[in-house]
């Protein structure tokens, strides 16, 4: 068994500054100025492997793409972002984010295959990414060598041969590795991977996740792994931020899920999942339907389904993680705090 529980909480010295700080971020759609995600505050340390979990429609993709300046039809409506000691100016946020983050954050989008050019050899796609990051003076031969080395490192067999092939000559898992090679080509400090394995077989999924974790360990790469699979994250990352209905509900140590009292939604979500250890009696569904991002509820979005909900949960503002605490529960009744 390759099981490893919570391996990647870095032993951060107290003094070390966070790599990424997101303060009270809100994201709105340009059309109608509809706020979809709000009140997200979290920090990610250098070398940390951090998870973001949420059901479909909770806002994971919209939040990350907008904060990276990649979502054309949405904008950062509130809050601030600081990366590697630099604030992203809120004026002209998207363009600044692309400029300041583009080279130091590697991004693997959801549905990554659409980011590969089907009519360009993969070697060329990777060398272009290297050129973009490091400039042309590297020289064609050196760049080719760097690309082939990178392809080898992400586990593409016979990289020198693969260099001259086209994306559709590869399986889903191999194409995912090509996308990784492109994201890693600029030697980023942080890799953000949005559902990197949902389309993959279990065996390939495990390999790709291990590839990411290995890379993090060997290169001191910080990672944000976005997934709807809480069990995958629980076994792979150190801390997990939980989104529901466009709100940040908790940031929890992966190892605390299933072993301690945590935020009611984190607890309820975990109770839904048949894991290796569970029996039928351990599985409990959450009644009702998920509330998506942007529903405009006041209070706690989970209050329509929460077993602990009280009237105040529907009216009080959801607490914010103002001090960017590493662990946080937004439960109005203080559960899991």
């Amino acid at each position: 068994m390759t099981e490893t529980l919570s391996p990647a909480v870095p032993s951060t010295a107290q003094s070390e500054a966070p790599l990424l700080e997101i303060r009270d971020a809100a994201v709105a759609l340009k059309s109608g100025n509809r706020t979809m995600v709000s009140g997200v505050s979290l920090s990610v340390m250098p070398r940390e492997v951090f998870g973001i979990v949420g059901e479909s429609g909770s806002g994971k993709t919209l939040l990350t793409r907008t904060l990276l300046g990649l979502q054309d039809d949405a904008y950062v409506a509130a809050g601030s972002v600081r990366f590697d000691g630099r604030d992203i100016p809120s004026q002209g946020y998207a363009a600044s984010a692309r400029k300041l983050l583009g080279h130091s954050i590697g991004f693997v989008p959801q549905d990554p295959f659409s980011s590969l050019n089907p009519s360009m050899k993969i070697g060329k796609q990777i060398t272009e990414a290297i050129h973009l990051a490091k400039g042309w003076p590297m020289g064609a031969e050196k760049t080719r060598e760097a690309a082939i080395r990178l392809m080898g490192e992400v586990g593409i067999p016979e990289p020198a041969l693969a260099f001259d092939q086209y994306p559709d000559q590869f399986s889903g898992g191999m194409r995912q590795r090509i996308v990784f090679a492109i994201a890693l080509s600029q030697d980023p400090k942080l890799l953000v991977a949005d559902e990197p394995t949902t389309a993959l077989d279990a065996i390939t999924q495990r390999r790709v996740i291990e590839l990411i974790l290995d890379r993090s360990r060997s290169h001191g790469l910080a990672v944000i792994l976005i997934s709807h699979n809480l069990e995958l994250l629980r076994q792979s990352v150190g801390r997990i931020a939980v989104l529901y209905g466009g709100q940040l509900h908790t940031i929890v140590d992966a190892g605390d899920i299933g072993t301690r009292v945590v935020h009611p939604y984190a607890e309820a979500l975990f109770a839904c999942i048949p894991t290796r250890e569970k029996e039928l009696a351990d599985i409990r569904s959450i009644p009702g339907e998920p509330v998506g991002a942007g529903f405009g509820l006041t209070g706690c979005a989970f209050s329509t389904r929460c077993a602990h909900a009280e009237p105040i949960c529907r009216t009080a503002p959801l607490p914010l993680n103002e001090r960017l605490a590493p662990r946080f529960s937004a439960c109005i009744l203080g559960r899991g705090a």
């Binding site: 699979n229 069990e231 309820a268």
Partner: protein, 260 residues
């Protein structure tokens, strides 16, 4: 586990290939001579990765598609020799629930009408009022309020549509229910709701179920026996708990190791 002399389903050496790009010599094999037996009252899991042939098995067992080689006996009778009457009875004896619950419901019919339609063909003993009453009971049984029966499929969420598809499938009291990844398209919290519905149905109804899934943990929890498929072949079979905790086959072992 009922060990009856006549199994519900017996596939023997069943194979199927799909011709690729019209060239017969370039056949892609979906199934390579598989043997699968499903006893009355059993819940049998079929586990495998994408493309392993699970849906092809489901479609053959429900006669939605044919096969090229081997034999399929249903309750002891070779389906190739079915009479018209047997073929008609088969259609109500065997029902299927698909992964995408939207595709299996008529978008222009109210959900009550969808369930009633299924009764119209196979429960001729019921008059319209009887069918309506039974449809409402079924909807309630799967957790859809009868008062929502006048609504159309698009007015329901994915999980609710899956409940309606299940109500429609069990309406005719089938002997065999084939479920092809009934949870995969649903949100995590809704998957657990539908799983609970299956557990209740298994306890309360005398159903034989083929449960197709790529989720090892779900199969371990609800199935009596399991067949593990890889590339169109059954690589291992046996009691679900044994196979999924002590695999004998190398592929099964690799699959189990990879699962989170």
């Amino acid at each position: 586990m009922a060990e009856t002399p006549l199994p519900m389903v017996e596939l023997q050496g069943v194979s199927k290939s799909f011709a690729r790009r019209l060239f017969i010599q370039n056949r892609s094999f979906a199934l390579r001579g598989i043997d699968i037996t499903i006893g009355r009252g059993e819940v049998v899991g079929i586990l495998g990765e994408s493309g392993s042939g699970k849906s092809t098995v489901a479609n053959i067992v429900t006669c939605l598609t044919g096969y090229d080689g081997g034999t399929y006996r249903f309750k002891g009778r070779d389906i190739a020799t079915f009479t018209r009457r047997e073929r008609f009875a088969f259609k109500s004896d065997v029902q299927i629930v698909f992964q995408d619950p939207y595709g299996s419901l008529n978008p222009r019919a109210t959900v009550r009408a969808s369930v009633m339609e299924s009764l119209l063909l196979h429960r001729r003993d019921l008059d319209k009022a009887g069918r309506m009453e039974r449809a409402d009971l079924l909807l309630e049984e799967v957790g859809i309020p009868a008062s929502a029966g006048d609504r159309f499929p698009h007015e329901f969420s994915g999980g609710q549509r899956q409940r309606i598809a299940i109500a429609r499938a069990i309406a005719v009291e089938p002997e065999l229910l084939v479920c092809d990844e009934p949870l995969s398209s649903l949100d995590v919290s809704i998957q657990a709701q539908i799983l609970e519905l299956f557990v209740r149905m298994i306890r309360e109804r005398a159903l034989t179920i083929v449960f197709i899934s790529h989720d090892v943990n779900v199969v371990r929890l609800i199935c009596d026996r399991v067949y593990v498929m890889n590339q169109g072949a059954v690589v291992e079979s046996g009691p679900a708990r044994d196979v999924l905790s002590n695999p004998k086959n190398e592929y099964t072992a690799r699959l189990l190791d990879a699962v989170y």
